[in-house]
């Protein structure tokens, strides 16, 4: 097990390296002088010179990468000239709404998708199965922002049940906090539900054809126990895997959902940074999201050891 953890950890290093190189290149491949691009239109010549020195632009490209990566590893993501702040400080301010939205969405999606997938697998081929899978295709197809506006229009404007937009910090009380998160989480979770439900259905249907399920049924176990304890448990690994891979979908959706609901999180920060062509912030946000994605999937790989005792690396 220790060897598995070690090899798995080592395997993330090349991935993170490629991510870092790609993010580094975003600025370098932008037409124009990187220092001038970072400084923005209103910068003075001295400011540009200062940035040029801090980036090491007079050195070779690999050396520049080393300087940049070294700083990023120490948490120094550069300075945003548009927002006039350290990028790390900006991210610190925006991280709470995004984390809250992501956690709510994941919890909601798993709580809805896994039972639906199990139900579809259990009634494999029936009308219920077809209806559920039809909804799943629909879920893939409705754009997050269309769904978001549809929900705002229906739930907030016509019915007046929930606030239209905005965000309240957890520190302002749990009630307002959660009321502002319900619609965004539902909006964002639909695609994720569609993905997880499909994989759950496939994995559970496959497990239901196994010999141990026949044995369990033959010895007279109630169907509920057969499906939940025998089939679902054996289907856990693909389900957990897709939850991890789906985080990428989730991150893309966060950017749009935050924009629709005016949530001041990392997604809104990304869009604002892109519109202002604020490259240090763009780089930092992409780096942060990608590293989070890689680490979550690392944790999920490790969780296989606990989910499925048969797995021995």
């Amino acid at each position: 097990m220790f060897r598995f953890l070690l090899t798995r950890l080592l395997a993330t290093i090349p991935v993170l390296f490629v991510v870092a190189v790609a993010v580094f290149l975003i600025l370098r491949l932008t037409p124009g002088d990187p220092a001038a691009v970072i400084a923005g239109d209103s910068a003075t010549t001295e400011q540009i010179e200062q940035i040029r020195a801090s980036l090491g632009l007079d050195q070779s490209i690999p050396a520049q990468f080393a300087i940049w990566a070294g700083n990023a590893l120490r948490g120094n993501l550069g300075e945003s000239f548009f927002f006039k702040k350290q990028v790390s400080e900006l991210i610190g301010q925006c991280i709470e709404p995004t984390l809250a939205l992501a956690v709510c969405t994941i919890v909601l999606a798993v709580a809805v998708a896994v039972p639906l997938g199990v139900l579809a697998a259990w009634h494999h081929g029936s009308w219920l199965d077809r209806v559920l899978m039809g909804f799943s295709t629909l879920g893939f197809s409705i754009p997050v922002f269309v769904l978001g506006y549809l929900l705002i229009w229906l739930v907030s404007m016509k019915l007046g049940w929930l606030p239209v937009q905005g965000y309240r910090r957890l520190a302002e009380g749990f009630g307002p906090f959660i009321r502002h998160l319900i619609l965004p989480s539902i909006t964002l979770s639909i695609v994720y539900i569609a993905v997880i439900a499909r994989i759950t259905r496939a994995a559970v249907s496959e497990a239901l054809t196994e010999d141990y399920v026949r044995t369990a049924r033959a010895k007279g176990l109630p169907e509920r126990v057969v499906v939940l304890r025998h089939a679902l448990r054996n289907a856990a690994v693909p389900i957990v895997t897709i939850i991890g891979i789906g985080i990428a979908v989730l991150i893309g959706g966060v950017v749009i959902t935050e924009s629709v609901y005016s949530i001041p999180g990392l997604g809104r920060l990304t869009v604002a940074a892109v519109l202002a062509r604020d490259f240090p912030t763009i780089q930092a946000v992409i780096l942060l999201f990608s590293v989070a994605y890689v680490l979550i999937n690392l944790l999920i790989d490790v969780s296989y050891l606990f989910l499925d005792p048969r797995i021995r690396y």
């Binding site: 975003i26 491949l29 705002i152 490259f279």
Partner: protein, 313 residues
């Protein structure tokens, strides 16, 4: 397939595992292919025929007709001074532009982007995947790079690339294509790794077929079915991402009518005039749904081995 006479009798290639007529018959019996294909054909027709479907210039500003509700009848004066009666089936936006005309013309952009991204990412991904799967030395390096690129959430990468290059139809297509390439590459590579062990490939190799001819003649045809399916899903995703970019304000310039752009402008006064967001949103969702249905149907008929799609973005 017209090939030069081979030196040995070559075994029949199992392209799509059945003769074309059989495949066509099976496709026409699949309800998802029929419905998805019909809706898509209709949307394509609408996009092509947009100028003749009772539309006016979708970019024409008309201060006299601002913020009209759907279905209002009125008059339009063209730039040449002609005045004629026009019914604003979907209302107008705050610049007095006819939403009906904008939505119809916007369909062109979506369909062009969807098809272009699908073809481009298939072509590039296929080339890289074939090489990685067939040339041993390349495999691990190429796949590590692809793993790294896949760790960056697709929409974020596209947003950053557009920010680098400034948006035009070409840069938007390229920016959406790049995050898709690793996924196609992975698919092609895994197919190639299976196919290269087949007896007919071994036979061809034993008579000294050059690598390029081998890939083109024996390996490539057998990857087509899953690739067509994958291409459909990429098309659906590309339409969604293009609309998302426009919606966030980082996509195509706002003077081009795209569904995302219409919604981006409409969202500012969504609470008074939801039609500016809901009509293009409905068209967008319908288009993506049709493409996804077509993909599901194609997958079930052409490619029964891959009966569950994994996550697609």
């Amino acid at each position: 397939m017209s090939e030069p006479a081979a030196t040995v009798a070559e075994p029949a290639e199992p392209f799509l595992d059945a003769p074309p007529r059989e495949v066509a018959r099976k496709l026409l019996r699949n309800p998802a292919v029929l419905v998805g294909g019909a809706v898509l054909a209709l949307l394509l027709l609408i996009a092509v025929l947009a100028p003749w479907l009772g539309t006016v210039d979708p970019t024409m500003l008309d201060p006299g007709n601002r913020d009209l509700l759907p279905g209002v009848a009125g008059e339009v004066t063209t730039l040449t001074g002609e005045t004629f009666a026009h019914t604003f089936w979907m209302g107008t936006d705050s610049y007095g532009r006819d939403i009906y005309s904008r939505v119809l013309f916007g369909g062109r952009v979506s369909l062009i982007v969807g098809v272009a991204v699908a073809l481009l990412s298939l072509a590039i991904g296929m080339t890289i995947g074939l090489c990685a799967g067939y040339i041993r030395g390349l495999d691990s390096v190429v796949m590590r790079i692809m793993d790294g690129l896949m760790a960056i959430p697709g929409i974020l990468l596209a947003i950053a690339l557009v920010a680098m290059w400034r948006a035009s139809l070409f840069t938007v297509v390229v920016a959406i294509t790049i995050p898709e390439i690793p996924r196609v590459t992975r698919l092609v590579r895994s197919l190639v790794l299976t196919i290269r062990e087949e007896p007919y490939v071994e036979a061809a190799r034993s008579v000294g077929t050059p690598t390029a001819a081998m890939l083109y003649r024996h390996v490539l045809p057998n990857t087509l079915a899953p690739l067509i399916v994958q291409g459909t899903y990429i098309c659906a995703l590309a339409i969604l991402v293009e609309a998302s970019l426009s919606f966030l304000g980082v996509g195509l310039p706002t003077d081009i009518p795209t569904w995302g752009n219409i919604m981006a402008e409409g969202r500012l006064q969504f609470q008074q005039f939801p039609h500016n967001v809901l009509f293009p949103g409905a068209f967008l969702a319908l288009t993506v749904l049709a493409v996804n249905m077509l993909g599901d149907g194609l997958r079930d008929t052409l490619d029964p081995r891959f009966n569950e799609r994994g996550v697609r973005r």
